[in-house]
């Protein structure tokens, strides 16, 4: 019904200038509001995105590509991929387990459990990193013992993985819970009465129903895990070539005034962000009915 917001259909073209549908603003107001929205978005969002690619290509594409083959860049890319490859599946498993527990059963304290799962969203990444350092750092009880047994967590890969899991903790569960609440329990119960085992019911009934929502959550989780800076900065120790992920390496290069190298690496992450955005939008268009997004309120 708002399709003719800017282009009046012939049926309404002949009406007097004074008459206007009760649910519409004047044409001038509409144009001004659209202009304000687009202008604001261009300055606030599009300009920063564009400048990443512009700065990366400031001295030509060749130099940008070369900078990505420097050892510190390649090791950063490798580390980031490893971190995502561990933390995303872990979070997916956790998200499914939490959503299954919360939506298929009735128990006391459910609301409290959901609050706990959501908690990492409202904690500063730096505070999250600090908390992990205090728990697993060398001068803590557990950390000291782990270092002594040759399995350090802080300033090493496990710490970075833990920090990445922390900041992405609610993503998958939050996406699955509303969808699974909506789908109810009847289908699984039917499968059980037909003699299916619990696992079989989950794999053949639940999983197909939640696959798009799961993919959606995993996408968001992955983007955040690869791009996390604050929490990782605290726990990684920023050891060049060892614990420097892509965002950490971007900071190092930037602080050393290696602008092209920093922005080239940033462009890779920005491209990844755009890809995530495109896939996410595609999912929203194609499978809106099987996602929680858009019906949260």
């Amino acid at each position: 019904m708002f399709d003719d917001a800017l282009h009046p259909t012939p049926a309404t073209a002949g009406r007097p200038a004074k008459w206007r549908p009760a649910t519409e603003e004047s044409r001038l107001t509409r144009i001004l509001l659209i202009a304000a929205a687009l202008g604001g978005l261009a300055i606030l969002v599009v300009a920063p995105l564009a400048v990443v690619f512009a700065e990366a290509l400031a001295r030509g594409a060749a130099q940008a590509v070369t900078s990505l083959t420097r050892p510190e860049a390649t090791s950063a890319i490798r580390l980031t991929l490893i971190v995502a490859a561990i933390s995303v599946p872990v979070n997916a498993v956790f998200g499914i387990a939490a959503a299954w527990t919360i939506t298929k059963f009735d128990f006391r304290g459910k609301a409290f459990l959901i609050t706990l799962i959501d908690l990492p969203f409202s904690i500063s990444p730096v505070v999250a990193g600090l908390a992990l350092v205090l728990l697993f750092g060398t001068n803590s009880l557990i950390g000291g013992w782990l270092v002594a047994s040759g399995f350090p967590i802080i300033f090493a890969l496990p710490g970075i993985v833990l920090a990445s899991i922390f900041v992405t903790f609610p993503f998958v569960a939050r996406e699955l819970i509303p969808v699974m609440i909506e789908q109810g329990r009847a289908e699984e119960e039917a499968a059980l009465t037909l003699g299916a085992s619990g696992w079989r019911a989950f794999l053949t009934v639940t999983l197909p129903n939640i696959k798009w929502a799961l993919l959606y959550g995993v996408l968001l989780c992955n983007a955040r895990a690869m791009g996390e800076f604050g929490a990782v900065a605290v726990v990684s120790g920023k050891i060049r070539g060892q614990t420097a992920t892509m965002p950490i390496t971007i900071e190092m290069l930037y602080n050393e005034y290696l602008s092209v190298a920093a922005f080239s690496l940033a462009a890779v992450l920005a491209a990844l962000g755009l890809l995530t955005l495109a896939l996410k939008t595609l999912l929203e268009w194609r499978h809106a009915d099987q996602l929680a997004a858009g019906r949260r309120h």
Partner: protein
Amino acid sequence: MALAFRLQKSPMPGFGLGMGITLAMLSLIVILPVGALLARGISYGPEAVWATINTPRVWAALYLSFRLAFLAALFNLVFGTLLAWVLARYDFPGRRLVDALVDLPFALPTAVAGIALTALYAPNGIFGGIARDLGGKIAYTQWGILIALIFVGLPFVTRTVQPVIAEIEQEVEEASATLGAGRFHTLRRVILPMLLPAALTGFALSLARAVGEYGSVIFIAGNLPMKTEIAPLLIVIKLEEFDYDGAAAIGIAMLLISFSMLLAINLIQIWSRRRIGHV
């Protein structure tokens, strides 16, 4: 813990496994680390924690973080509602692309946003250059921090308000008009009050995110003590000085701010549910 989540009878299998994974992960990732932070504060002693926070530099950083986060969230409240309205109500070329772009701040890593914003707003950048010609400075001042915080919190209000706008019944707006109200009166008295609970939720989410934001801010901030030093940076500095107690003290202060904002969000939702039946 397991006793607290006692199950009522159910034929569905997998409660033990699901709850086991959930609680194990929650403990390892969230409860134990946050507990370690609080324990550190307790062993350091409440007086010592207070003494750490109660210094001009820490107060300045906390005040700066909170004040600028509040201003950024306020900007996002207004602009985000406008954006939601335009996206939900008007059709224009490229609307779906614009709709997708709104989420970019969620998809772009904060460090990338940080250096990009700095490149734009530094004196030799495009917008920074304009400011310099006009005799002003954006990057390395509080204005720069404000812009970074606006960026990271931009999608929250739009994404909470947009579905509510889509749900407003056309008849409600028409009713207002048949009662003699002009369009502006309808917007102000009927539509905006209906959007208010969702907009406030988005505002609180944006605020919570901005208070704790680190990655996008430190590049553009300049990081001058007492002037452009944000609270999360102070934690990082303390850690680099191996002052774990000091870091824990500031961390606990920020945790309390986060918890009170979480509480505020929940209260807003309870309030609006009670008032208009549902959110």
